[in-house]
């Protein structure tokens, strides 16, 4: 501890250079935090996805509608706790750029039990009793200053029976999502109303959400559901929600590879920078280090002083960079989809900073340790 002032003055020996290398490390870790944070954030979302939920959709592809009539038959499958209907109406509010997803459900008290969704009993009651009712997400309510009783117009390419593309819904309450359901900027409407009012695709749904009794029985229940509709016009594919989330992110491409390559390139370049900077600083300070040695500092102490200098500046800059990254996540919600940077990423980052400092400073520290006192003092 008593060497701290010595180390500190070593770091700030050339303030301009110290600031530059500090910023360079900061930028590198900012990028690391964002990229690795995005990747780990996705993994976290997948890992947090409930393991007891199945999605029943068309065997064709995910977007293909399936008959509403499947509902009762799925509900009768042993192991099924509850079945939820999900239909979508994509619309825009006021401007074409303000896209809003309307999630059409069968309004029923069982939604109180729906995982990840927080809705009050009274709001749900209101939705059940209002045909054109809508529950709006707390985020949207705040964004557009909506309140209960407002009537919101949505322009959609899904036409009503009378040919009109303009829908309107009465706000009867709000909801909040406590898990990532993708409904943060959505409204929940009644599927009965949507189904009756739309011109096309009557009596179909996008998919069913099936809550099962036992996650261990997931595969058996899925098979039982698909067997019900095998060889019919509307064959189904029933998959665990978690697997679907996984494959959805996989379809984006090999994010892992991109993140690893970029981070690798960044640290490769940074390693050279830090190493060269430390060597340069060592050359300039040879006489000073020689003085320390002459005063009785052991070789080991010189080694540690140089190493600690690198460690302190690297770790401090890295933490600041990671902090900036963590702060950017909530700001860039639109791009990052409301992900947050897991703490593990900060820990990995700090570890990387230590490794960076150790490798970058090992050679200069070694040289410093072996510095011949007489020659260095003579400035040769």
């Amino acid at each position: 501890m008593k060497y701290l002032p010595l180390i500190w003055s070593g770091i700030w020996r050339k303030p301009g250079r110290a600031v530059l290398i500090f910023l360079q490390i900061l930028f590198a870790f900012l990028l690391f935090g964002l990229l690795q944070g995005f990747k780990s954030g996705i993994d976290q979302v997948i890992a947090q996805t409930r393991a007891d939920i199945l999605i029943v959709h068309s065997r064709q592809s995910f977007g293909q509608p399936i008959p509403l009539g499947h509902f009762a038959r799925i509900q009768a499958v042993p192991g099924v706790k509850a079945v939820f209907v999900q239909n979508f109406l994509m619309g825009s509010y006021q401007f074409p750029t303000q896209r809003i997803l309307a999630d059409a459900v069968d309004p029923d008290l069982k939604w109180l039990r729906y995982p990840g969704l927080e809705v009050s009993r009274s709001d749900l009651d209101a939705l059940i009793h209002t045909r054109t009712g809508a529950l709006v997400s707390a985020t949207l309510a705040q964004k557009y200053s909506w309140k209960v009783g407002d009537r919101i117009p949505l322009h959609s390419n899904l036409l009503q029976e009378n040919g009109s593309p303009d829908w309107s819904f009465d706000i009867v309450g709000t909801f909040r999502e406590s898990e990532h359901l993708g409904l943060d900027e959505a409204i929940i409407i009644s599927n009965d109303y949507l189904n009756e009012a739309r011109a096309d695709k009557k009596n179909t749904v996008q998919h069913f959400i099936v809550l099962t009794d036992d996650p261990k029985q997931l595969a058996a229940v899925a098979q039982a559901v698909d067997d019900l509709f095998a060889n019919s016009q509307d064959e189904t594919r029933t998959e665990p929600l978690r697997e679907m989330a996984q494959s959805q992110f996989q379809s984006l491409g090999d994010i892992n590879f991109v993140v690893r390559s970029v981070v690798g390139a960044v640290f490769f370049a940074l390693l050279f920078s830090v190493g060269a900077m430390m060597m340069q600083s060592l050359r300039e300070r040879s006489p000073e280090l020689a003085v320390l040695k002459a005063l009785g500092f052991s070789d080991g102490k010189i080694f540690w002083i140089i190493l600690l200098e690198a460690l302190i500046s690297c770790v401090f800059a890295a933490l600041l960079g990671l902090g900036c990254a963590a702060a950017i996540f909530p700001l860039a919600k639109a791009y990052l989809g409301g992900l947050s940077m897991p703490y593990a990423v900060a820990a990995i980052g700090a570890g990387l900073a230590v490794v960076l400092a150790l490798i970058g400073a090992a050679m200069p520290a070694w040289r410093g340790m072996r510095l011949p006192v007489a020659e260095a003092l003579g400035g040769r």
Partner: protein, 388 residues
């Protein structure tokens, strides 16, 4: 002239002493190479997507969408609208005097990749009989065309090459029915990642009553105005004409826009870091040469040649780095096939991208060299000569 001579002399001094500054040189070189390499590699994804989509876009082809639709996905056209558009002036006719126009409908189907069995959704287009006429770039590479009324389909090049079960004779199960793969085709562009089948068959099997869009061939690119006027003169026709080149460019932006944003963002943060590294290196180089510079200033060298020489040196240091980075990007990734979100295309390192990478490197060199150059020019002659 004097300035120029001094500049050359200084530059020679700089370059001759570079070998003693291996560390600083390497930092700048590698820093630049990493930035340029990453930037070009990432941009090559977007460039590949654009190249794929734009490959066979033609000035004399027009996409017909429902008025106000963003793309084919949210567009729907009635049979009547398609038929009456075909009768409009400006639409090219084939030898049998039939309009070169077809209505198209698409549905998503799933397939599994050969390489990792990963499931991806891609498009099955139901198209009319005039499809080959409207797309002269279309040709079969094996098998035959699907026949109207039958559940037959043909698979695009990247579809059957990358995905399982699309060999000729294979059966694909769609809506409870077996469909037979009867041919393979190639267009070199947009359609290569999809399946094609007979539109009326697709519509009846999938219970779809309207087309998504129609595509037509003009008599010539100049005939567009004539067609546009005729369509506008018919108030019952609620369609919008989109010439293929701008339409495809717009569609490609949906995909490559995000990719490009991410690429530039990552590139910019990396470049900021590497520029700081270059500043540091150049400072070190200039500091190590203080006495020489002071000597030259003492014998009458001006400030400008000093500044120019340092800037030139910085640029000369980053340029090989840029070339190295571009080369790495090209040799590692150019031509690699990626298939995000059901599409397939090759990463393309174009000359434009290389030029862009070099431009970034130049900017990094100039910005990174500026402060050190100013410091070199303002070296206090007397004290620098006395030092050490």
């Amino acid at each position: 002239m004097k300035i120029f001579k001094q500049y050359i002399a200084l530059l020679q001094l700089s370059l001759s002493s570079l070998k003693d500054r291996g560390g600083s040189v390497l930092v700048t070189l590698i820093g630049t190479a990493c930035v340029v390499g990453v930037l070009i590699s990432m941009l090559s994804i977007g460039a590949g997507a654009r190249a794929m989509i734009m490959h066979d876009a033609r000035a004399d082809r027009v996409w017909v969408l429902k008025h106000g639709a963003h793309g084919t996905g949210d567009s729907s056209l009635s049979r009547e609208a398609v038929l009456s558009t075909a009768d409009m002036p400006g639409v090219k006719k084939d030898v049998h005097d039939k309009a070169m126009l077809y209505g198209a409908v698409f549905v998503g189907v799933e397939g599994r990749k050969r390489i990792d069995n990963a499931r991806t959704t891609f498009a099955l287009f139901g198209v009319g009989a005039q499809f080959p006429a409207v797309h002269p770039e279309f040709h079969l590479t094996a098998g035959r065309l699907f026949r109207p009324g039958l559940r037959e389909l043909i698979a695009g090049k990247s579809r059957h090459e990358l995905f399982k079960n699309f060999e000729i004779g294979d059966h694909v199960r769609l809506r409870g029915n077996e469909w037979t793969v009867v041919g393979h085709f190639e267009t070199g562009g947009f359609f290569d990642g999809s399946l094609l089948a007979d539109a009326p068959t697709v519509m009846s099997v999938f219970g779809i009553s309207t087309f998504n869009n129609a595509t037509l061939m003009l008599q010539s690119a100049a005939a567009f105005d004539e067609l546009q006027a005729a369509v506008r003169a018919n108030p019952s026709l609620d369609v919008e004409l989109r010439p293929e080149i701008p339409f495809m460019r717009e569609q490609s932006k949906n995909l490559s826009g995000v990719l490009d944003f991410v690429s530039y963002f990552v590139g910019a943060v990396m470049a900021a870091g590497a520029t700081l590294g270059a500043v540091n290196s150049m400072y070190a180089i200039v500091d190590g040469r203080k006495r020489e510079i002071a000597t030259l200033r003492a014998i009458g060298f001006g400030a400008w040649p000093v500044i120019l020489a340092v800037l030139t040196e910085a640029v000369l240091l980053v340029l090989p780095g840029a070339v190295l980075g571009a080369l790495a990007a090209w040799s590692l990734f150019n031509g690699d096939t990626v298939s995000p979100m059901g599409m397939s295309f090759k990463l393309t390192v174009t000359s434009d991208l290389v030029a862009l990478g070099v431009a970034w490197a130049l900017a990094m060199g100039l910005i990174g060299g500026l402060l050190p150059a100013l410091r070199a020019a303002s070296v206090p002659v007397a004290s620098a000569l006395r030092a050490n």
